[in-house]
Structures are given as C-alpha cells and as structure tokens.
C-alpha cells in the first residue's frame, strides 16, 4: 500500500509541475462596444435596466454581481434576475459574475436610458486565474456575515467519499461547521444542534437529508443548482430553527434542447434527463439515482454482513412553465427511499416525499411576489426481526407549508422583503405491530402531538453610504398546539414520572391546547473601512417549535420529530457575531476573523436510560436545559492563481446546563458540561489545482479535537455480570481526528464526449481515526471492561466514478 501511495504522489507531482499546457484566461477588453440608448441623445444620467438569465435553462439569475469599471458602480440582481443602475453617460467595462456561470465581460457605450438583457453560460472562468465565480470582494461588501454560497460545480471539485458528491460534508470544511463523526447525517453550526438547522430543498423543509445512515448524500448532484448556508445572520424570511439555514435549490429543465447526463460509481448510479416539452415555454427535468451497493457487502466474509443489505433510491422531477417572461411556475417533486437490514437482526426503512409548487412573478421592476405551497412526509420504520417476537415500529411526520413573499426594491440601495408563512405539523400515530406475520405481539398506537407554526416577516436591507449598510429584520412567530391530544397534569414540585400524573385533560380534534409566540429580531450591519476591509456585526433571535427526539450522539433515521407542547416549550436561541473581513493582494486572498456567542434556552436533554418510543407522556423522559456556545473562526481563502482553496480554523466551546430542584432531573450536579458534539479545535485545509482543461487535482485536510465521551470509571459484578459504572456525562474525550482526502478528475476520457473520470482517495493517510470508543470485556468475566477505539475507515478508501453528459 505504501508503494502505491508513493507512486500516486509521484504521479501527481509530475502532472502538477511538469504539465506545460496550463491555459490562462486573459481579461482583455478589446472587443466591440455595446451601445445603450439613443446615440443622438445626450442625457446626463441614464438608467440601465435588464435581466440576467441562464442561457440553457432560461431561468433568471438572482444575486448575480455586476460591476462597472471595476467596482466604480456595482450591485446585484434582485430575486428575479433584474437590475437597474443609474449611470452617467459614458463608456464602461461591465463584469457580471454568478455562481456556477462563466463570467460575462462587456464594453458599454451608454448614451441614454436603455435595456440590456444578458445570458450567462454554465461553467467556470479558467480557474488558474479566478476560481471564485462571484464578485471577488463579496465578503467585504456583503452586509450579511456568515453567509456561504456554493454552486454544485464547486463542490464537485472536492474529494468525495466513495465518489458521492456531498453538500453536507463540503460545508463541514467551512469554519464553524462540524459533525459528530463519519456516518453522521447531521451537522452542527456554531454550537447548534443538528435539529437546529433548517434544511430547505426548493424552499420546502426536509427532515432527513442523507442515505445509508449518513454515508451517502440524499441529493442527486446532477439535479442540484446551488446551495447557501446562513450560519451567522439569518434573514427574517427564514425561521423555525434556532441555528442555521441550509437552502438547496435544484435546476429547472433546459427550455431549448434535451440534454442527458449521469454517472456510474461504486455505490450508486444516476441519470438525469432535461429538456423542453414546449420550447422556451415548458421544461421538464427528471433525475433518478439508485444504489448498487449490495455487492460491496457480499465481499465480506462475515456471514452477518454478507446477508445484510442496504439500498436506496431518490428521484427528482421538476416541471417549469413560463406563462410570460415575468411569470414562472415550478412544480418540484422529490422522493427518496432507504432500506437497511443487518443480517436477520434488525432493519431500518425511511422515506421522504416532497412536493411543492412555486409561482414567481414580477409585475414591474420594484415588486415581485412569490408563492410557495408545499407538502412533505417523512416516514421511518424500525424493524426487529428476531425470532421470538418480531416487530416493527412506524413513525411518520406529515407537514404542509405555505409561504407568500413580496420583494420590493425601491432602488439599488434599498430592498425590502416581507411576507407570511405557515407550517402545519401533523405526525401520524406511532405504531408498534408484528413483523413478518407475527400476530402474537401486543400492538400499540400512540397518537402524536400536532401543531401549526405561522409567522409574519419583514426584512429591510439598506445601504446608507459606501461605508455603511444595514439589514434589519423582524419575524413574529406564533405556534399553536392543537388536538386531538391527552394532556397530563403532574403533581407540582416532584419529578415528572408516570406515577406523578394527577389528571388527564382530553382535547378534541383541532382544539387549541397551547400557544407560544414571540418576536425574532434580526440585525446585521456592515462598516467598510476601506476598499478591502470591513467589519460586520449581527444579532439574531430564533425560535424553534419542532424538535428531534434523539437520545444518541448523532441523529438516526428513526428519531422522532416532536412539536412543542405545554411541557416542551420552544427552543430559543440568541446568536451574536462580529467579524473583521479583509482582502489582500488585489482580492487574491480573502480573509476573515469572526467571534460568535450563542445562548440557547429550553434545550431538550434526556434522563438516564429514557424510554422514547411509544411513550404517550414523553415529557417524563425529557429535561429542559440551557445551552451556550462561543468561539472564534479564522478563514483564509485564495481565489486566484494556480492553487486555490481555503484554510479554516475554529475554536469553540458548546456546553449544556440542566438543573432542577429535583436531583433526578439534574445532570452532572447542575454544572455546565460539554455537549455531545463539542470539538474545541477544528482545522480544514482545502486545495484545488486545475491542470488545464485535461485534469484537476484537489485535497481536503481535516483535524478536529475528539468529541466528548462518558467513560467507565469503575465496575462491579452482580449475578456474575460485570456492570460498568460510568462517569458524569461527557467528562472525557475520544482521540483527535485527522484525515486527508485526495481527488483527481480527468476530463474528456472519450473524445467527443463531455465526460470525466473522478478518482478519489478518502482517508489517504490510512489513519485509524476514532469513530468511537467503546468498552469490551476481556475473555474472562472477572476483569473490568477495557476501552477500544473503533475506526470505521481504518485505511485508505479509493473510489472511481465515471460521469457523462450528452
């Protein structure tokens, strides 16, 4: 293995440093002028308006950056891809950039008010010059702190586990974003819990975003258009979660011609078709991905694994119709299914179904309404196929969401976004039943609580001057728990247990049980110190009315989603951050240093050994606590040159406090203790090196502190059984984590085909990182359990994926 590595490294060095066919783009401005307005007129001021669209999909591009004469005048397109600039008459060099699109350069001769519509092609500017496909000083000029936007093309360049391009793993290379470990489907943003991240898929919340228990991403990479992570300031039009928002958008189908693409990998294969049903009017995109993973398991000699199975699929359909150029309707359908069985011992099944209709229109440049109506369903099934009493436990969360947003842009310095949103959470009853025809089991149904969350929001972004801009937002959210439900009354001042129930109140269907409401202010300000320096501060208050009941370190597919009740108040987070942003060497380097503090109320914690399934009084197993997270982030990104990439470092502490007058409802004696995912040090280094058009090389290096562990401090024997005695919660740590991934993309494998071959090496150093630490008894029963470190990926994991497009 060492020889193979040496050969591979040698090959990479050879390719990188002796490849003479490295192309470079030249930003030459010697192309002809585009004339704006009437050349016979000589207006002092001209208003230039227009729309920027994707040349293939014909979708408008919101947030595209326009710069005249190298940022003498600059701005962004609005939600509908429109822009308007008031310019003195004259000649201009216009640069337009947008994530995932080739930049557009134009020379303009502006005489008077006129129109300029621009189409942008998908792809990148030659990366040796600029890898970023946005304005180079966005981080300085953007008023929102802690906002990360990526196109799927950027993520495709990074090394991937088993060749699967993964959005969630990619964002974990950013400062302030971590997860509890490999195989975890959730992620943690600035000390927030995994369920505190709102994941929007085409504007619709999704409750499980991965396949294969978190090892494989839940979305087809070919269908993804872009994604944004709001980890600092979250605009008021987003709500319902206490920590962050990850917004993932899929593409619309091409309005002009049919295209096909796909890929074949070790774990899954995928195919996408897109094209016009009515040219330039109606388009269809269909994407399908399915696993081909059982063969991997059959290579294992262990009979349990050989007889195991995991398979999944996901499918996307997007139907887009343009009633007019200013009115677009999109229907998005998404379905995913996972089946996982470990021998004849146990199994999981889970499914996502999402459907949403989005209607965007804009009557004039200033006002643009958007209506989104969505339906979602998340189902899970925990299967116990044991011989004596096989059973299955089913859960389902059904939800409806409607959101109307109005964008009002009085001028290029001022934009207002307001609207109303409502989400109804209507989970089905949790149901235990026999499995495989077992009729002897005593079936059980536990009705789940229902709730409706609604909100009014207003967000106002205003640029006071070149140096100061501010975004102020206000969200007023109201949550109503509704029947039917049985609400238990507990004896006061004693621990909530089944035995302390003194009364039961029965509520009929739709009856109002409990209301929570409150304001959620959002403020962010940017102070520009110079062309290359700015300071940003932000404050957010966020309320969360639905909670993932998960008494495990990482979320599992069978976790229950529980709405707020009289005994489960909403989680409330106050997020503060301040950052200094500076670009160096003509925007070649983008740097930032940010500090953050987060306080959290009503965090859900768990009593020792809780019974969370089929529990009609789940509050007897839960505790309410406080949380705090604080830390600092440093980010250095290189945007130009042969090598591009970034280095991020985060120091953070995330702690929980659960105290009560009742000792049995107190954790660790009421002292602050580290959360399950507390990893104080987190370093990521990401590098990209494109070798002309022929190939690209990239790597990710990641170091994190070991996560907390509750360790065995002593043991005793009872009836011959060794019983470990554990420490207070999370008082120790597992070993630190270090991983290096490499990836090599070879383009145009077959001539005349738009294809690529991606070879990647996950955990190239072959390091045995601690996935977990567990205790195993020695052969003799008379010795105490000893700690062992389990490394899921104890050696290098190579993979190869072939991608094609035609």
């Amino acid at each position: 293995m060492a020889n193979v590595r040496r050969i591979f490294i040698g090959f990479l060095f050879f390719v990188m440093f002796f490849n003479s066919k490295v192309s470079r783009s030249q930003e030459s401005w010697d192309f002809p002028f585009t004339v704006i307005g009437d050349s016979t007129r000589r207006d002092q001021k001209a208003v230039l308006t227009g729309v920027i669209i994707n040349s293939s999909s014909k979708e408008t591009l919101a947030g595209a950056h326009l710069s005249f004469d190298f940022y003498k005048y600059y701005g962004r397109t609005d939600q509908y891809g429109k822009f308007a600039f008031e310019l003195p008459q004259g000649n201009y060099k216009l640069t337009i950039k947008y994530i995932g699109m080739k930049p557009v350069y134009k020379r303009l001769k502006v005489f008077s008010t006129g129109l300029l519509n621009i189409e942008m092609e998908e792809g990148f500017e030659l990366p040796e010059v600029v890898v970023s496909d946005r304005a180079l000083d966005t981080n300085i000029k953007e008023s929102l702190g802690g906002l990360a936007k990526f196109s799927i093309q950027e993520i495709k360049k990074l090394p991937a586990f088993m060749g699967e391009v993964d959005i969630l793993k990619s964002i974990q290379t950013l400062p302030g974003v971590t997860s509890v470990g490999e195989g975890s489907s959730g992620f943690n943003v600035r000390g927030g819990r995994a369920d505190q991240n709102l994941i929007l898929f085409n504007g619709t919340p999704i409750f499980n975003s991965s396949h294969a228990l978190g090892f494989v991403p839940g979305f087809n990479q070919d269908a993804i258009k872009n994604f944004s992570l709001y980890k600092g300031n979250v605009p008021a039009n987003y709500g319902g979660r206490a920590s962050s928002v990850l917004e993932i958008n899929t593409k619309s189908g091409d309005f002009e011609k049919w295209q096909f693409q796909g890929g074949v990998g070790l774990i899954s294969s995928r195919f996408l078709a897109e094209g016009p049903l009515i040219k330039n009017k109606t388009s269809l995109l269909t994407a399908f991905r399915t696993s081909n993973s059982d063969w991997v398991l059959r290579q294992v000699e262990n009979p349990d694994v050989k007889n195991s199975s995991f398979n999944f699929y996901d499918a996307n359909i997007t139907l887009a119709h343009k009633f007019t150029t200013a009115s677009i309707l999109r229907l998005n359908l998404y379905s995913s299914n996972d089946f996982f069985r470990f021998s004849q011992r146990f199994g999981f099944e889970w499914q996502n179904y999402l459907a949403n209709v989005e209607w965007k229109s804009h009557t004039d440049r200033k006002l643009s309404p958007t209506l989104n109506i969505a339906f979602g369903e998340y189902r899970s099934n925990l299967i116990d196929p044991t011989i004596t009493n096989p059973s299955q436990l089913k859960n389902a969360l059904i939800y409806y969401n409607i959101k109307e947003t109005l964008d009002y842009v009085p001028n290029e310095k001022h934009s207002i976004k307001g609207g109303v949103e409502a989400t109804a959470y209507l989970p089905s009853a949790e149901e235990l039943s026999g499995y495989n025809g077992n009729k002897s089991i005593v079936g059980k149904k536990v009705e789940k609580n229902h709730g409706i969350e609604s909100a009014l929001f207003l967000n106002d972004e205003y640029q006071f001057s070149e140096t100061i801009s501010m975004t102020g937002g206000l969200r007023y959210s109201v949550y109503n728990q509704i029947g039917s439900a049985n609400v238990f009354t507990y004896q006061p001042n004693v621990p909530k247990v089944e035995g302390s129930i003194i009364d039961t109140l029965k509520y009929g269907t739709g009856a109002l049980i409990k209301t929570y409401q409150g304001l959620e202010p959002r403020v962010s300000a940017r102070f520009t110190l110079s062309e290359s320096q700015s300071i940003k501060i932000s404050y957010n208050k966020m309320r969360q009315y639905i909670h993932q009941i998960s008494n495990t370190t990482a979320p599992t597919p069978v976790d229950i989603w529980q709405v707020s009740t009289a005994y489960l108040p909403p989680q409330i987070a106050n997020n503060y951050s301040i950052g200094y942003f500076r670009n160096l060497k003509d925007n070649m380097f983008e740097t930032s240093a940010e500090l953050f503090y987060k306080s959290m109320d009503n965090l859900i914690e768990y009593k020792d050994f809780p019974s969370l399934y089929l529990n009609q009084h789940i509050e007897t197993e839960l505790l309410s606590g406080k949380g705090r997270a604080y830390g600092g982030e440093v980010y250095i990104r290189k945007l130009k040159g042969k090598w591009t990439g970034w280095i991020s470092y985060t120091y953070s502490q995330t702690q929980v406090n659960v105290s009560s007058i009742n000792p049995s409802e107190t954790i660790n004696g009421g002292k602050w203790y580290p959360s399950n995912y507390n990893k104080p040090h987190n370093i990521s280094i990401v590098g990209n090196r494109r070798m002309g058009k022929a190939a690209a090389f990239s790597f990710i290096f990641n170091y994190t502190s070991g996560r907390p562990l509750t360790a065995v401090e002593t043991s005793y024997i009872t009836s011959g059984t060794v019983v470990p005695v554990y420490s207070d919660r999370n008082q120790y740590n597992i070993p630190d984590y270090i991983r290096l991934d490499l990836s090599l993309t070879i383009n145009s494998v077959f001539k005349k085909l738009d294809d690529s071959l991606v070879i990647s090496f996950y955990n190239f150093l072959g390091r045995s990182n601690a996935y977990s630490v567990f205790y195993q008894r020695p052969q003799s029963n008379y010795f105490i359990p000893k700690p062992y470190q389990l490394s899921v990926l104890g050696s290098t994991l190579p993979s190869i994926t072939y991608n094609f497009k035609f």
Binding site: F342, F346, D384, V558, S611, L612, S772, V773, V792
Partner: protein, 367 residues
Amino acid sequence: MSSDKIHNKKSVRLVSKLIEFLAFLSLVSCLTPIDLEVNAKGGRLVVSGQISTLPDQSIVELGLTTDTNTLPVPLKGASVKVIDDQGSFYRYFEIKPGTYSLSGYKGIAGHTYYIEVGLPSGQIYKSIPEKMPVPSVLDSVTYEIASEEVVDAEGIAAKKNFYKLYANSSFESTKGFLKWTVDEAFLLSPTDFPDIFGSIPPPCFIVQNSDPQRIALFDESTTSSKSIQRILIASREIDWTFYEKHYFTSIQSSITKESFEYWRKVNILANQVGSIFDSPPAAIVGNIVNSKSSEELVLGYFQAANQTYKRKFFLPNDLPFPLLFDKCDFVGDRSNVTAIPNTAAYPPRCIDCTIVRNSSYIRPVWF
C-alpha cells in the same frame, strides 16, 4: 412495565448493533485498544443479591470499588439481614469473604422484603422493599449445538461451537416480568501422575454462571399469548470444560417491575458499543440507600425473586464431534513411578485445578 418499555429495550439493542454493520461497511474498519486515563472512583459500596423461593439461592455479595480500576474488593464482617412485612428478620451468614448466604428460610410469594446491611464502620444501608412476585412456569429447557462465527476484539473471525439453551415458559393470568440465568457446574480431574502411593489427586468442582453477560429478560405483557417459546437464555462455548460431566441449571426468576427495570439498564450498558448511535450511558442507581445519607450512590440491587429451575447434565459423548483441546489425562508409562512428573507438558489447570476461578473441592450435593 408496558410494551413501550420492552420495545424500547429492543430498540436500544438494535440501534447499538448498528455499529457492527458500520464496522464492516467499508471493509476497512479496525479495532484497537487505547489508553484512556480516567479518574477511578474507589470506595463505593456494592450490594447485590436476592431473597429467593429456592433454597441456597438467597445470596448477598458486598464489595467496595477500588480506585485502581479493578473489580471491587470483598467487604468482610458486615451484618446482613432480610426483614419481611411482618417485621421478622432472617440473617445472612458470611460463607466466604464478602459473600453472605441465607439458610433456613425461603421467600414466600406475596410477602414484602427488604435488606439491611450494617458495615463494620457503623453505617447502615437498606434496600427499598420488594414484594415477592407470583411464579411463572418454566415448562422446559431445550438445547442445541451450533457452530457460529465469532469475531474477537482484534477483528479476527473464527468458527466456534456453542451449547445453546432455550427456555419455554407459560404464564399466569397476571402478567409479570421474567429473568433467566444459567449456572453451570463441571468436574475437573487433575492429571493423575504415577506415584509410589498410588494416590489420585482430588477433582475440583467449578460452579459459575455459564453466560454471565447475557441478560435474558421478558415482559409478559408484550405478548397476547400465555406462553413464550425458545427464549435463548445461555450460549456457552464448547471448550475443555466439556471433557467431563457438565451440569446446566437453568433458573427462571419472576421479578418485580423495578428489578426488571434495573436489569434492563444493565443490559443496555452491557450492549453499549460507544457508537454515535448509542444512548449516552450513565451510572445505574439501584435500590440500596444509606439510611443517613440518601445522596450517597450505592451500587447494586437487592431483589425478591420467585424462582424455579430445570437442571440437566451433558456428557462428552453427547457431542457430535470430538473435542480437540489439551487434556489432563496422563500420557506415559504408569509403571514408572520414579520418573519426575513432566508437569510442563500439561496445562496448568491439570497440575493444580484450584487455579481455575470458582473452583473448589466441594462437590455440589446434586452432582
């Protein structure tokens, strides 16, 4: 105990097994021992035992945890007595260091019992009273010999033979809680080297739990049937101990809901694998309290168990295959009594059978 509890127990077990799959998922997993420095908590009292409806099964063990990360040391010289709801008390007598036994009295269904432990230091500890449950019937115990692949701590897989015992039980109309344990007793005859006196070394009898880390529990309310079949209650690796007569005593205990809950938690900890899908582990609080300081964490549990049992023995001839382990039989010329015994050629247990843990020269009365 409702069905949610038993299902939760199952669920926790299932989720904890997830790691086994994850460990193999990539084909490249590995397991290595690590040094994890912990602050061992010494000096905690451990009280574990029961009052039983069977003779000789009412045993209490006392110990103190150590701060050197080893098993507790036996606590000698304590005063132990069980007190019933009539106020009558019965003493447990120390039969070996830290082990106390009740003789002359058996628990009675429907009576309530608690234990009182007086330490030499003067501290008094009491258990929360438990009502002796009504018994369920242990209809039969069946066995099978199975070959299974076992993966050891280093990840090395090997096929091994196991002797498996299954319980078949029926219930009364009152749904209760069951726990099974299987004790084994076997003979170990040391190597009979020739000597001028023709003496035969005495055999040892080893009595112990045959599958101590298995905690077989069942909540009768989870089934609508009045019986349960083929509950696996022990799986014993077939090794050299099967060279001679080998007894298995399967004991079925009807226990209280609280005791069941305690064992459910022990079972969760016994199945903890430390994965990110595990529930956070915690110290188990039993039912023993210091009468003067309720804050003190006392480890262990004292239960009232209505017990019934089945016993059967197993002979080497019952095995469908020959045993290929080192034997203690003398190999050589028995007439050469002057030769120095070549003890190095035999396993240590064949030279001194008392080195085997739980061995003694005391033959159980039923052996």
